[in-house]
Symmetry: C2
Subunit: 206 residues, 2 copies
């Protein structure tokens, strides 16, 4: 069972469960049920139970799920039971906002390196990072063993940066430039593009 390949569509829901659990815990709750999670997430209770059962039995019949326990298990499954060091490429207005954003803390990520091509920015500190020259990026990332990077450079430069990151042995890229970057097999890339989200919704407007 655990050796079966779990479909990505199931994996994509686990972080949502984790976020909902976090929220319930802050509400002071100790336990929850598949039904309560379903109400919060707009997903059926059956599906939540089925998803979780791919990884083991985390609940107790009649009782539901312990929030701290299920949280811990989900964090293990998603490999966020420790913090990953993350590099940020492009320390413009958006990059600075991301570096200062508190929401990564405690959810598995720590942005510890930032790179920019503007000499005026070198040495400045935002959150946990100090801006370094982009020329030294490849070596710095490789030496630090960093495997996760966020791209916040203009769209025209994003593919070039992605290519360099892949050479520096980065395996996971979160891309804020609104283009589909080409990356080799084995490299995971996701795009954050607010316009895509908006356009998905305007279809339903008059």
């Amino acid at each position: 069972m655990l050796n079966d390949k779990i479909p990505d569509i199931i994996i994509s829901r686990l972080p949502q469960y984790l976020r909902a659990l976090n929220w319930l815990e802050m509400d002071g709750k100790q336990t929850t049920s598949s039904q309560e999670l379903a109400d919060h997430l707009g997903i059926s209770a059956a599906q939540i139970r089925k998803d979780l059962s791919q990884f083991g039995g985390f609940g107790k019949q009649g009782m539901g799920y312990s929030i701290p326990y299920l949280t811990k298990e989900l964090r293990k499954i998603l490999h966020v039971d420790h913090n990953w060091e993350v590099a940020l490429v492009g320390v413009g207005q958006l990059g600075i906002a991301i570096a200062n954003y508190q929401g990564f803390q405690g959810r598995g990520f720590n942005i510890v390196m930032g790179f920019d091509s503007d000499p005026g920015k070198i040495g400045k500190k935002y959150g946990n990072l100090t801006v370094q020259p982009i020329a030294g990026m490849d070596v710095a990332i490789k030496n630090a063993g960093i495997v996760i990077a966020m791209i916040t450079v203009p769209a025209g430069q994003a593919q070039d940066i992605a290519d360099r990151l892949v050479k520096a042995e980065v395996k996971t890229i979160l891309n804020y430039a609104p283009i589909n970057l080409m990356v080799p097999q084995g490299i995971r890339m996701r795009v954050i593009d607010p316009v895509i989200e908006l356009q998905r919704m305007t279809y339903y407007l008059e």
Copy 2:
């Protein structure tokens, strides 16, 4: 055929087609094929043809698709053949970065109103907006007939803001706070949460 309800999973791919077409056009291309789009997007060519055929025959056998024509038709389908006025609630570091972001222009959105509770920010200009006091938000949005809003306030305030936006007759909310907001039936809400995207990928890391 056109009267059938189109599944949301198909709608969710149309903005991606639009973005890929945009990119091909900037490369100087005049026409494309389902295969070329497939290569760019990591989606099968058959699926792209099937998706598009839900809305009509936009291609020509042997020739492929005219990029300007298909772009125009997709923009019509998604209702982004004109610009929507958008309100931004919370003009902090992230809000300012979004207001100044050029990527909305020409893709159907114009952020024309911004609200913040900090008196020191009132009257400041970012992109196409001037910051207004959040106390007047409800009336201002309703009077302007704005139906799309972005929430960039801290997580603890986001639900309250969402409730107020719904009362002001906003129909579509893009939420940057990392929580699942509760909104009534008929209101569309999507969350932008970079941590969710990262956690989906760390599952595949060692």
